[in-house]
């Protein structure tokens, strides 16, 4: 008897779940006009809406005094799985304390090798590098894909704790 009960129960529970699914897509269908998520990209360059989690390209933000937060600790270089990041940070003597200390000279970023995996951003202790929201990165020469992220003449923000 329970076998027969299960047979009919399976029919009705199956129909119920099918209707649940159809209710979801039916709601989408009815509200397709106002809830469309497609953006008509080349036409709406001015009003393009990007999402926070989008990973475009690695950049190093600088403030108005041309200060960045990179201490040259090389954590991102070690974290990078395919060697897209090269850090040139020679040790120099700090004039105040007399200790030797790394100072960032060049933060070299090879966009041509980068898979945008986000590991460098996660490993950075001072949040010196972030993912940008831009995505139009095509260039005509491969050498343009190798960038130096710290701007010329920039230096470490003194407020950053090492």
């Amino acid at each position: 008897m329970s076998a027969i009960g299960n047979y009919f129960r399976s029919i009705f529970s199956g129909l119920k779940t099918l209707f649940q699914g159809m209710a979801v897509t039916g709601y989408y269908f009815r509200n397709a006009r106002k809830e469309i998520i497609t953006q008509q990209y080349p036409d709406n360059k001015d009003t393009l809406r990007m999402y926070d989690r989008f990973r475009g390209i690695v950049v190093m933000p600088h403030d108005e005094n041309n200060l960045h937060a990179c201490t040259g600790c090389s954590a991102c270089e070690i974290a990078c799985p395919n060697g897209s990041i090269e850090i040139i940070a020679p040790r120099v003597v700090d004039p105040e304390t007399g200790k030797k200390k790394k100072v960032i000279n060049q933060h070299i970023y090879h966009y041509s090798m980068c898979t945008l995996c986000n590991l460098c951003i996660l490993s950075c202790p001072t949040e010196a590098i972030v993912m940008d929201q831009t995505f139009e990165h095509a260039v005509y020469d491969r050498s343009l894909l190798t960038q130096i992220l710290n701007k010329p003449g920039s230096s470490l923000n003194p407020n950053v704790k090492e």
Binding site: V24, F29, A32, I36
Partner: protein, 362 residues
Amino acid sequence: MYLSIYDFSSFFQSIDNWLTSTFPEPIATIIVWILIGVSAIAFTALLGLSLVYAERKVAAWFQLRIGPNRVGFQGVLQTVADITKLIMKEPLTPGTSDKFLYNLAPFLMMLAPFIVIGALPYAEGLQVMDLNVGVFFVTAVSSIGVLGILISGYSSNNKYSLIGSMRSGAQVVSYELSAGLAIMVIVVMSGSLQFSEIIEAQRDGWWIFKGHLPVWIAFVVFIIAGTAETNRGPFDLAEAESELTAGFHTEYSGIKFAFFFLAEYVNLFIIVVLATTLFLGGWMPLHIGDWEAFNNIADIIPPIFWFLGKVSALIILIMWFKWTFPRLRIDQLLTLEWKYLLPISLVNIVLAAFIILMGWHF
């Protein structure tokens, strides 16, 4: 009474009278054949184009996308552009295929819909041939389509095609049983296999309202089985893109591929027209028993619009299935047919016969 100005038969009768009075008898007959053939081809092409566009647009809305919107107003000419591209492409024949069967299969695919659309009723007097075994003829002829699928899979000399066509063959042959039994319920109710008489029997209310439980069950079974017979999602495992690239039409290109593509949509239309005619009264306006005033208001809308309205509603329902439900596995597909739909339809037809015997339907 419905308005006779919407009756197409006098219009076609006048054309026929003019032809027979102008030309000798055999030439007039040939001209009639040519006219019917050309209009059938034009109708099929138009139907395929508009249904492909409708499918892409409806699918986009179900997924909160926009859909084709570049070619023409709101993308209405997109499918015309696609078909033009397909016609201009080279129809490649693989070197190791069975060349005769390979080239025959697309025509077999289109043959069944071409024959069937002549037997279906579209409006009062708008029907090529009103056979006295119309329902039987349609179910019999529409089975030719599966032959095209099987031949295309066999002759392509491709494992994907063969697996896809074998799945499709198993599927169509199984689901034809329950679709046929669902149709039988209406045939028992109306007491006729002729489409015009089935529609006439729904003058005082469509079968889905008059027939109670057996017709409701038959309608659900027929919609499920019809979706499966046309190889549409969620039963599209014959051409499961993720497993079989494209299934039975993997090797086809150009206009031969377009034939498979159009046949799928014309088959969808045929299934929907059958469901409309049998369960929802075909072109018959909504009549409720002997409510004279209501019936007269319903009659003001021409039958062709009633027909198109019902057909589009059902087409959107079947597209809704496709864009909601996940694809079935082959064992789930056969379980659904042999363990659920077939026993249910067998019991259902007995129930229908019992209800008619007791006179419990309206």
